[in-house]
């Protein structure tokens, strides 16, 4: 186990930020921590890093209890904070060099690592820029570079793509996958389910400091009753027809807001086929028809009764 958290409780006064949180992360995983704003993701990360005092629980990293003085553990952790944390007075190169130097004593090795990181994050053109002159996306990349230059075995990224344009975001996600393929274990927090779904091999969904579900995305989706969502575009359908549509096997709910009929079905075969047949038989005029598998948002919705993003 790379990280093992057991019964972690963290209170801020009356607020319970983490409520008996337990999870483990295996080597080579990209572990996603998915939850809405304020659900406790950053708090959990800061506890793992021994930055925050917590009220209860045990945390092990690389099989050893984590403490502020566990330098041999810290040496192998790379962290990309939610808030950009770089020196405004240092250039891109100097910033990366500084943080890398806190981990790597050997000058030549350090230099090589810094160059590799600059290349990896695509910051070469900007190496002599001060952070103030970087765009939001580039700044995020610098923030990442400072956290990973020393080639850590465990990389923790706390919402590294917040306020980043789609192009930079894809680059960042791609980079994370590459780091993982080179052997790094990754903890990735986000409140964007698409991202998490895209790159994480295992996901824990948290809400109000509680783990509400953990597993691969397939496992998570299998946990809920919703099988698929079928959407039919139609300008002319009667209430009576909708009612009969709902009678079909496996159909859980039918909602119509002109021109879209949204049909939710539970798991089962031939759901789409049945719906199509019904529409043909009833001569309902239709445009597009498509079927979607449930998203993590649906998982969240079904378990907590609210949307992941509000």
């Amino acid at each position: 186990m790379i990280v093992k958290v057991r019964n972690l409780v963290k209170r801020y006064g009356d607020l319970i930020a983490l409520d008996h949180l337990s999870f483990s992360i295996k080597e080579g995983e990209i572990f996603g921590l998915l939850g809405p704003n304020g659900s406790g993701k950053t708090t959990a990360i800061n506890c793992i890093l021994s930055l925050l005092k917590y009220d209860k629980g045990e945390i092990e990293v690389f099989g050893e209890p984590m403490t502020p003085e566990a330098y041999h553990i810290k040496r192998n952790i790379g962290i990309v904070m939610q808030n950009v944390a770089v020196f405004n007075e240092l250039t891109v190169y100097e910033n990366i060099d500084y943080f890398c130097g806190l981990y790597i004593k050997d000058k030549n090795l350090k230099k090589q690592l810094v160059e590799e990181t600059i290349e990896f994050t695509g910051l070469n053109e900007y190496r002599n820029f001060r952070p103030k002159k970087l765009s939001g996306g580039l700044l995020r990349r610098l923030n990442i570079a400072c956290g990973i230059a020393h080639k850590p075995k465990l990389i923790i990224l706390d919402e590294p793509t917040v306020a980043v344009d789609p192009q930079s975001r894809n680059k960042i996600l791609e980079g994370i996958r590459k780091l993982n393929s080179k052997g790094a274990t990754i903890i990735y927090t986000s409140h964007y389910m698409e991202e998490v779904e895209q790159i994480c091999s295992r996901i824990m969904i948290i809400d109000k400091g509680k783990a509400i579900a953990t597993g691969t995305k397939e496992e998570l989706k299998a946990m809920i009753s919703l099988g698929e969502k079928i959407t039919v575009e139609s300008y002319d359908v009667s209430g009576e027809q909708l009612a009969r549509l709902k009678q079909l096997p496996n159909i859980v709910s039918v909602e119509y807001s002109n021109p879209l009929i949204e049909i939710k079905s539970s798991k089962g075969k031939n759901n789409l086929e049945n719906v199509l047949e019904f529409i043909k038989k009833e001569n309902i005029p239709f445009g597009k028809i498509y079927s979607e598998l449930p998203t993590l948002n649906d998982v969240f919705l079904e378990i907590t009764g609210k949307e992941l993003r509000d």
Partner: protein
């Protein structure tokens, strides 16, 4: 690791324009301003004789020793006072309309009546105190030894004694100097801006940057020490430059004890830096608020030490002496001042002692706060 952090820190601080402005450019500009504004005051070190009156009653006429002493002090080229004999009523009027700084009533207990406190008033007072203590106490001895009598008389009327109660170290009385001393003292305290940055960048509950350093495999206090050494170095260089500018460009004299002057500056700078470090660790508010606190405290301290208006210093030390002992700017000013004027180093030592006490206190308190490695909240 020390070199890595230290060098990068130097680089950061030297590029931090705001801090460099407050610690260097601002005091430098202010010193130039003082120079231009004050160059007429106290020119040529002419000592202004102090206008006083004495109530010319029987008690005065009968107290021969006091009468002689006062007359001696109001005689000749280098006299201390311009003395007027008057009735109490007249003296009161003179004081009221500002023609005299104060008037004296002889008697068993010699009385001094003044309207306000200031340097002149405190000189008159020290003269009287001196008379009462030295002269009266050895009255009997003097009666039998006319030679001693003359000696005591001479020292009693020596004006230099009264700028600061004890004999001088070769310096000439000059009010202007005090303004520059306060200014240097203030600049020492502005080292607090460096200290502030140091704690902000090591306390994870203050800045995300600090959080990042806390996560690195580096001993927190070692990182802090490496870093604050860089701050200290820059601050000392800045102070040396300021001191050099004031001494050699503006030609303000610090007296012959260069070593002690430098020592004072070093201790002042350490106090300043750790004061800032402590305030920043204690006040967990935005940087703007911290800067406001630091500037506010340094400015208030400088004001109370007489930077804007010299009489404030005397007013405070006479009426609220406690305040002058807890004001680092005043301690520094006074240390420079005693170095310049006094042969005896005891007053200087006292100032520096108290100041070092403060430096140690700030240092220890900062350590106690920084020592924690886990935070209750970020």
């Amino acid at each position: 690791m020390f070199a890595h952090i230290f060098m990068n820190r130097l680089r950061c601080l030297l590029r931090d324009k705001e801090t460099i402005f407050w610690t260097f450019a601002f005091p430098l500009a202010l010193s130039l301003f003082f120079y231009l504004a004050l160059s007429n005051i106290g020119k040529g070190e002419t000592f202004q004789e102090i206008d006083i009156a004495v109530v010319n009653d029987s008690r005065y006429q009968e107290d021969l020793y006091f009468k002689t002493a006062l007359e001696e002090a109001s005689k000749g080229e280098d006299r201390l006072f311009d003395l007027t004999l008057a009735t109490e009523e007249e003296a009161g009027k003179l004081l009221e309309n500002g023609s005299i700084k104060g008037y004296i009533k002889a008697g068993d207990q010699i009385e001094l009546v003044v309207k306000e406190s200031g340097m002149y008033q405190s000189i008159i007072k020290s003269f009287l105190d001196n008379y009462s203590q030295t002269f009266k106490a050895v009255e009997t001895v003097l009666r039998n030894d006319p030679k001693k009598y003359q000696e005591v008389m001479e020292s009693l009327k020596d004006r230099k004694n009264y700028v600061k109660e004890v004999p001088t170290a070769g310096g000439k009385p000059d009010i202007v100097i005090n303004y520059f001393y306060t200014l240097i003292a203030m600049a020492c305290m502005y080292g607090s801006f460096f200290g502030m940055r140091e704690t902000s960048d090591i306390q994870a509950d203050i800045s995300p940057l600090a959080a990042r350093i806390n996560i690195a495999p580096v001993h927190k206090l070692k990182a802090f020490l490496s870093s604050i050494c860089a701050s200290m170095l820059i601050h000392l260089v800045v102070m040396l430059a300021l001191l050099g500018f004031i001494r050699y460009v503006l030609n303000i004299d610090f007296g012959p004890r260069t070593g002690y002057v430098l020592l004072t500056m070093v201790i002042g700078s350490i106090t300043g830096v750790f004061f800032g470090a402590f305030v920043s660790a204690l006040v967990k508010k935005s940087e703007g608020i911290k800067v406001a606190v630091l500037i506010g405290v340094s400015m208030l301290g400088s004001f109370l030490a007489g930077m804007m208006y010299i009489d404030i210093k005397y007013l405070i030390s006479m009426n609220v002496p406690f305040l002058s002992w807890i004001n680092p700017v005043n301690l520094l000013t006074d240390a420079f001042y005693s170095l310049y004027y006094l042969d005896d180093l005891s007053r200087y030592a006292l100032n520096i002692g108290v100041l070092s006490g403060f430096a140690t206190l700030f240092c220890v308190l900062t350590y106690l706060i920084l020592r924690r490695r886990k935070y209750a909240g970020l």
